[in-house]
Assembly symmetry: C2
Homo-oligomer: 425 residues x 2
């Protein structure tokens, strides 16, 4: 019966089987030490002979677990040579080293060799943590009565206006990859589901090449009925983030340690300030010593630093964006809107807001954005037949992962990132 | 403070607020009875006046909860007329009725008017149950140490051979929508994750128009290392299905009742027979009184009926498919393969098997399927550097939903189905 590398400390002086990848080989005369890697971690094997297998080969071995204070976890496996099986031999010419610190590798080397670089423990840990984010996000949403939805990623036209879409040849017609499930999540809220969430891919055909953009990303989408303003949504996001952060802290201590990272404590999440777009510009302007017209990436970092200093937390909810800076469906409040962004450790990770739910208000708004009811007839139907006040937001999964671990590029937080030039592996 | 319709039995003689959609209006002289619908169900309101709102309008009301044995749940809300607010007025001309039995509606009427048909409680319940499937699937996978992955849906070429793909215009190049995460889940197993699962969209550019096909569906994908044969995978799928069925039974009693449906008990799942493809053809042949060359949809129903009679469960695992009936990456066993299908209540809902993990065996196999290493270079790299024995399978979310509820067409189990002619809403 196979046990995991992390479990052998519980089997002292017992015979166990281990299986995994050959992480490191060190031969000292007649004895060899092999570090074996499996999904749980690594274990030291002691062999009485010089191994004939290569790094990254997959082997299984049996032996007795012995205490040895010099071994990594205080135990090692004394391998019974007869039991050794090479399940899959690796070509000795690895394109990149697996058992060295990935900091030595360029981002291109990591991504061009993604199939191999994901074997590097520290890189794989990014995705162990990402899996925990997915778990705690869904778990929290269900705890508040949200229904998980899966909507089509093939759409006739974009609700966001039509630019920045990837066209798809769909039989004899042309459709587009959805930029967000905006239309669908609003329709489902109005259908009586009231509270929905979706975890799914989103596509932006933008020619960005920055450390914060992906052309395909995973969006954690939320939409909720019977809200008054964006503050109900911010309250909800704070509860969600507290659940995610606490869950990650519990499940991923090893991953956080490997990246020397930490998650905000619940009281820190509660103390994230809510400031208006105007206030934010003023604060940034004062700190930068010049007038600020727009909150650019540098401004996002400045305002988070300010929050860290003034409120003890490296994050800010920015509210009250002007109408022209938000999509047409955003609920107006004078010449501002009931919308918000969350900036976390210097990067926008969420955009959301209350939506227009009144059919008349929507019809009045469309022409201001150069849109027509005919062009958005499916969308407009949602509001024609009774739609409660509602709103929602989306959290970018890769950006949240990036900011928790302090990754320098969001592409590092995507298993198989897509950018303008990268479509493989 | 708003309470839900399903909660008012706990507030007898107390004042509460309800909010939701006007499901039904019945006026008797000076008194009117209104059925209000929210995400939890419905509640009866009693008004002292003739309502001025229309069906499907969204309203909020306050009043005292009173016992009335004639009311649907033995309680009703005596509405304080002053408190009534119409939050969103619905156009009285509904394209389809919401408060009638959807059996009267054709499938086209339901899908053409999807935005409205999802308001019909019995239709919405399909997706409440689907959300529970998603919950228990993920929960089970995590309980066995699987990592949740999110892989790209934009691929350079298909691992399945290249036909049946939707092309995407991706900047200056052309990519395709992924038919499955096959390549990626194998790569991640080989990376050392060992056990992965993914919930994501999958695309098939096939011109089918049948009650069992969708061009876009949600695939519940599983891949696991260190297996011996397809039987390890079948064991795993049985454990997963038991978790899903038990979870659905607990969470969705109301939904199952509305559809007069039930889920198999754990002992039934355990007793699903495993028969070879040859045996299945023989059994179908005997029952149909003619020689059978292929298991077609009618054959799938016949063999499930047989299992019901012989094994007390309406499902069969078919194993040992011939090599030419399975994809190139399937692990051979003589001129058969270590692969399986699960037929559930007369429909194939899973395909899986052990995969080739030996680089040499793969290179030998490719030409038999008209493929080359150059054409599949990213894929082949997985096996060059050590890949454990592994395998996996995929469950179609919509088909599983369809078969649990006994829906006559799989499109009913997709929120926004895509078929050859349907790309909206």
């Amino acid at each position: 019966m196979r046990v995991l590398a992390s479990e052998i400390t519980g089997y002292k002086n017992k015979r166990v089987e281990l299986a995994g990848w050959v992480h490191r080989i060190r031969s000292l005369g007649k004895i060899s030490f092999v570090i074996l890697r499996d999904r749980s971690g690594t274990a030291q094997l002691v062999l009485d002979e010089k191994p004939e297998f290569t790094h990254e080969s997959v082997i299984s071995v049996q032996g007795i677990v012995k205490e040895n204070e010099k071994a990594p976890d205080g135990v090692e496996l004394q391998v019974d040579g007869e039991s050794l099986k090479v399940l899959s031999a690796a070509n000795p010419e690895l394109p990149i080293p697996v058992n060295q610190d990935p900091k030595e590798l360029s981002l291109d080397a990591v991504l061009d060799n993604r199939i191999i670089s994901l074997r590097i423990p520290r890189i794989r840990q990014i995705f162990t943590l990402q899996s925990a984010i997915l778990k705690y996000f869904a778990q929290h949403m269900r705890s508040e009565g949200f229904t998980e939805i899966k909507t089509s990623k093939l759409i006739g036209t974009g609700t966001e206006g039509g630019t920045g879409l990837f066209p798809v040849e769909y039989f004899d017609t042309r459709v587009y990859l959805a930029q967000s499930p905006q239309f669908y999540k609003q329709a489902l809220v109005a259908s009586g589901m009231e509270r929905v969430f979706e975890i799914g891919p989103a596509y932006r055909a933008e020619k960005h090449d920055t450390p914060r953009h992906l052309n395909e990303y995973v969006s954690l989408d939320v939409e909720m009925a019977f809200i008054e303003s964006e503050h109900d949504l911010i309250d909800l996001e704070q509860r969600i983030l507290k659940s995610i952060f606490q869950g990650v802290k519990e499940d991923c201590a090893k991953e956080l340690e490997a990246w020397q990272a930490s998650v905000p404590e619940p009281e820190e999440v509660d103390s994230v300030p809510r400031i208006t777009h105007d206030e934010a510009k003023e604060i940034i302007g004062k700190l930068q010593g010049r007038r600020v017209f727009e909150i650019n990436p540098e401004g996002e970092r400045v305002i988070c630093d300010w929050a860290k200093k003034e409120h003890g937390v490296d994050a800010v909810f920015v509210t009250g964006f002007p109408r022209k800076k938000r999509p047409f469906y955003t609920f107006p409040s004078g010449n501002k809107t009931m919308s918000f962004d969350l900036l976390f450790r210097g990067l926008e990770i969420t955009t959301g807001g209350r939506r227009i739910n009144d059919y008349g208000m929507l019809l009045e708004t469309l022409p201001r954005f150069g849109l027509t009811e005919e062009g958005l007839s499916d969308y407009c139907q949602i509001f024609k037949y009774g739609c409660p006040p509602h709103g929602g937001f989306a959290i970018g999964l890769e950006r949240l992962t990036q900011q928790i671990l302090g990754l320098s590029n969001v592409k590092e937080a995507s298993l198989f990132p897509r950018d303008r030039k990268r479509v493989r592996p």
